[in-house]
């Protein structure tokens, strides 16, 4: 017996299989002849087969359920309500997903813009950057031009005579 097999599913004997097939009218000709001979000779077997057939036939006495229209109507109403609820749930779920998708797309766009800006800033030279760096010199340009010698100014910066200004020199 297999682990998940119930005791009443365990294979029946060949004789029992033959009886079932006989009772169901599915016994092949040869087997039917063989069983008929046995039934003729064996009162107990004949009695058992008769009883099996009678007990089976008694099931026809059971009434079949009859349902009126109200059952059909109430079931269809119930199904309609449930189907509508399903549709609403589906729509709500779709809206939720659409909203999430929208928010995600906006966040992704903002992040991409930020990264793009940063990368661009790092790679492409900024024309104004040099100007900003040179601003202290530009502001004092008139003074530097009066001195007239760049090499003198460099020597002056290296001599540390004006240490506090030296740090600001270009």
């Amino acid at each position: 017996m297999k682990a998940n097999e119930h005791s009443d599913e365990v294979a029946i004997s060949r004789d029992e299989e033959m009886l079932v097939a006989y009772l169901d009218g599915k016994l092949e000709d040869d087997a039917a002849r063989e069983l008929a001979e046995r039934l003729a000779d064996d009162d107990a077997l004949r009695q058992r087969v008769n009883r099996l057939a009678q007990a089976w036939a008694l099931l026809d006495e059971l009434p079949r359920s009859r349902l009126d229209e109200s059952f059909t109507r109430s079931t269809i109403e119930m199904v309609s309500v449930a189907a509508e609820a399903d549709v609403q749930r589906e729509v709500a779920s779709r809206i939720r997903w659409q909203w999430l998708a929208g928010v995600s797309a906006a966040a992704a766009l903002a992040m991409a813009t930020g990264i793009g800006f940063w990368v661009t800033n790092q790679i492409v030279p900024d024309a104004n950057r040099q100007l900003v760096e040179d601003l202290p010199i530009v502001e004092e340009m008139d003074l530097y031009q009066q001195i007239g010698s760049v090499s003198f100014l460099e020597q002056l910066a290296d001599s540390e005579v004006f240490p506090e200004e030296a740090g600001n020199e270009p």
């Binding site: 009443d8 029992e16 079932v20 009678q54 007990a55 006495e61 059952f71």
Partner: protein, 222 residues
């Protein structure tokens, strides 16, 4: 698959239901509702509950319409769902009963099936020709004396005229297992009904008189 699509008109109806055809669904209901309730009534033992469960069956069918693929006869698919719904209901009922029993030591209404059989067959009745209602009660009680799987196999075979193969698909068993199950169910029914078949005596009289063939059957059925 194509075989069922072409030859089973109910499969064609279900395919229309898949396309949201409400009339097809109503037609399927009209064809099957009584049959489903009949089977469920014998499985769960109560008409009201059987009707509630049948509604659940049709609701499940409607909800499953979009994924429906005709892999078997429609009736086989329908009764597979019916079987699942009945199994869930029995499990829930057993769980509730367990909780109730934990709370109270005795439950006089929860008679075992064979005791119900004896009550239904009424041991006090004299041996006489029984009227139709009494015979129905005896047969109904005899069916409820079978275990659940034997009962379902009998109902599908007798009421739905299903083949071993279709019953096997419905119950997720092999056809050979179904054959065995049905044979044992027939044997159990024969033993339970033997007193009535022999001389019209309700089974309850017999069980009272000689130590009950019924209790033997009950043990065997489990």
């Amino acid at each position: 698959m194509e075989l069922y699509r072409l030859h089973d008109p109910d499969v064609q109806l279900m395919l229309q239901v898949r396309e949201d055809d409400a009339e097809a669904f109503e037609e399927l209901m009209l064809r099957y509702q009584s049959r489903v309730v009949t089977v469920l009534e014998h499985l769960v033992g109560q008409r009201d509950q059987a009707e509630d469960l049948a509604q659940d069956v049709f609701l499940r069918i409607y909800r499953a319409r979009k994924t429906y693929v005709p892999g078997a006869k429609f009736s086989t698919w329908l009764f597979t769902i019916t079987n699942n719904v009945a199994s869930n209901a029995r499990r829930n009922r057993a769980r509730r009963k367990e909780v109730r029993w934990e709370g109270s030591s005795g439950d006089s209404t929860a008679l075992p099936a064979m005791e119900q059989l004896a009550v239904a067959a009424s041991g006090q009745m004299p041996a006489r020709r029984l009227d139709k209602k009494e015979v129905q009660d005896i047969v109904r009680a005899a069916i409820s004396g079978l275990n659940e799987r034997q009962r379902l196999a009998v109902l599908l075979s007798k009421f739905e005229d299903m083949s071993y193969e279709d019953i096997a698909t419905t119950m997720e068993l092999s056809p050979q297992a179904v054959k065995s199950l049905l044979f044992r169910a027939r044997e159990n029914l024969r033993q339970i009904l033997e007193p009535y078949l022999a001389d019209g005596t309700p089974p309850g009289d017999e069980s009272n008189a000689n130590g009950s063939a019924a209790s033997d059957v009950s043990a065997e059925a489990e």
